[in-house]
């Protein structure tokens, strides 16, 4: 099931002729990379085989492609790593890290002048909006926070009248924000990093929005690699990532020039996965 990978002859006998990397325009991290050329060239040089790179649009698509052996390395969120591990036997590779990467989490927001709601407990009996049932930051994390902190039944949260008066799925973070600002629903879960940007884009006043709570921090997306690649190749690719030191690149794509790729610990996503398990989010993927 390794597709083109098995036929190639690289430096070592069983290395493929080229490896394919998929970059995801991440809804959680929309400053998605447009210019990965330096990274690609660096890896190709270090590893000694060609690297092709694609822009993906959907994790599901990327994971399927990895499962069918059509791509080798992809950028994945916690949830999708878990799915990729189950479906395609993916392994963790590297994660961009630095002390000064801004923390990444989801905020619970309501209207600026809404005096009824001041904490997530006050959300009971209100209208609430998630982004989309497959979104980490727009659904899984906030739901996890609600379940853990308020001790709710994960299976019933979306049901009207259980905790919330009514639950809406808005399909995008800006929609959630707009909905709150215009009063279509009382509160919503919106990724923190872009609230300012969204307010500006929608020509809104920052005072229109009040933040009433937040989730735990969401780990940064990691690169994951197809598990059935030769061990020495995996190692070579990892080394290539780690040795990449282009500050411009990190400044542009990971918010700070100090960031670097570090090999991902095996327990990097443990906390997350635990959280996902408490809300039974992982059933479908198994």
């Amino acid at each position: 099931k390794t597709g083109e990978a098995s036929s190639g002859k690289g430096e070592n006998g069983d290395w493929p002729e080229e490896i394919a990397i998929v970059q995801m325009p991440n809804e959680d991290n929309p400053n998605s990379p447009t210019l990965h050329t330096q990274l690609r060239e660096h890896i190709a040089e270090e590893v000694g085989i060609d690297v092709v790179e694609y822009q993906g649009g959907s994790y599901a698509v990327g994971i399927e492609a990895m499962a069918s052996g059509n791509i080798d390395v992809m950028l994945a969120s916690p949830m999708s790593y878990y799915q990729a591990q189950k479906k395609a036997g993916a392994e963790l590779l590297v994660t961009p890290q630095a002390d000064d990467i801004p923390e990444y989490y989801t905020s619970f927001i309501t209207q600026g002048d809404n005096d009824d709601i001041n904490s997530i407990e006050d959300l009971e009996g209100k209208n609430f909006a998630f982004v989309n049932a497959a979104s980490s930051s727009g659904y899984l994390y906030p739901k996890g926070t609600l379940v853990q902190e308020l001790d709710l039944d994960p299976a019933l949260i979306e049901q009207s009248g259980y905790f919330f008066e009514n639950v809406t799925f808005t399909e995008s973070h800006p929609n959630s924000l707009m909905g709150v600002a215009m009063g279509d629903f009382d509160a919503a879960a919106v990724v923190n990093g872009q609230i300012d940007q969204m307010l500006e884009a929608a020509d809104l006043n920052p005072d229109d929005i009040k933040i009433i709570g937040r989730t735990q921090s969401i780990p940064d997306a990691s690169y994951i690699i197809r598990g059935d690649m030769p061990e020495d190749l995996k190692q070579a690719i990892e080394d290539a990532f780690v040795s990449f030191e282009d500050e411009e690149y990190f400044a542009a794509l990971h918010q700070t020039p100090n960031a670097r790729f570090y090999p991902t610990e095996n327990n990097y996503y443990e906390e997350t996965i635990e959280m996902l398990e408490t809300i039974n989010a992982l059933e479908g993927a198994e």
Partner: protein, 266 residues
């Protein structure tokens, strides 16, 4: 001659008319009740229009060179899928059009399968194509081809069925084969509407390339998705203007070609 009230429409068809109108109105009312629109809110928020439009009316010229370059990718992909799609769709739609189909079963089969193909969302196509072909333009081409053919078959069959029967009859009476009737009779007759549909589909292919971002196809669609994702409305507006103005040029060009075919070359 004694003449009382004279009907203009026969009694039966008046009743049919009334029934039809009643049915349509009640369907509409039912649907309106079902989705329960809040019209008050609608009118109240109309006042937002100038403000929002105003904030969207920004242009970021720095994206233009990149956009034009990506447009070339989109155009070549759209064009390629169009050429192959038109070729296959012409054959399929002559097989499917009820007035010329060689076999009624075949006709229903083609129409049915394309109705199904059209209903499958592009994400599903993306998945299947990726899983079998991997990322890249080849996949984009295939995915685009499917929707292009599905759409064109529908439009082409419509035009062929509109073309009527007398030409087919005349050609048939000369003993011309199915292909000959199609090629020498119906094709010259339908060519103008085909040109129109092809234009529409060319546009469709370009906008399709936007949803093809999910399978790693570049092009102007990807650029647009990114601009939207980063809430960069100046770039978004600029890209949309580029797409629209290009499409307008094509539209008017094709209209001229069409009228040239219709009215002869004089």
């Amino acid at each position: 001659m004694e003449m009382n009230y004279i009907r203009v429409t026969s009694k039966g068809s008046i009743w049919k008319m009334i029934l039809l109108v009643a049915a349509l109105v009640s369907i509409f009312v039912l649907a309106a009740m079902l989705i329960n629109l809040n019209l008050e809110q609608f009118f109240a928020r109309l006042e937002n229009v100038p403000g929002v439009l105003n904030s969207m009316m920004a242009i970021d010229a720095s994206i233009i060179p990149a956009a034009l370059l990506e447009l070339v990718t989109s155009l070549s992909l759209a064009f390629l899928a169009l050429v192959v799609g038109v070729f296959l769709a012409i054959i399929l739609s002559f097989l499917a059009a009820s007035n010329i189909t060689p076999n009624n079963f075949l006709s229903s089969f083609i129409k049915g399968s394309f109705a199904v193909i059209r209903s499958i969302p592009s994400l599903v196509w993306g998945l299947m194509v990726i899983a079998s072909l991997g990322f890249g333009n080849t996949s984009g081409f295939i995915a685009m081809l499917f929707s292009a053919i599905a759409y064109l078959v529908k439009m082409f069959t419509g035009s062929i069925e509109d073309a009527g029967y007398d030409v087919i009859e005349a050609m048939r009476s000369t003993g011309a084969s199915w292909f000959n009737i199609v090629y020498h009779g119906l094709l010259p007759l339908c060519i103008t509407s085909f040109v129109a549909w092809i234009t529409v589909r060319f546009e469709g292919n370009i906008s399709e390339s936007i949803s093809l971002g999910i399978i790693g196809v570049g092009g102007i669609g990807l650029l647009l998705t990114q601009a939207i994702g980063t809430y960069n409305y100046a770039q978004t507006t600029t890209i949309v203007i580029i797409i629209c103005s290009f499409m307008l040029i094509i539209e008017f060009l094709m209209t001229r070609i069409k009228s040239k075919i219709t009215h002869g070359s004089r």
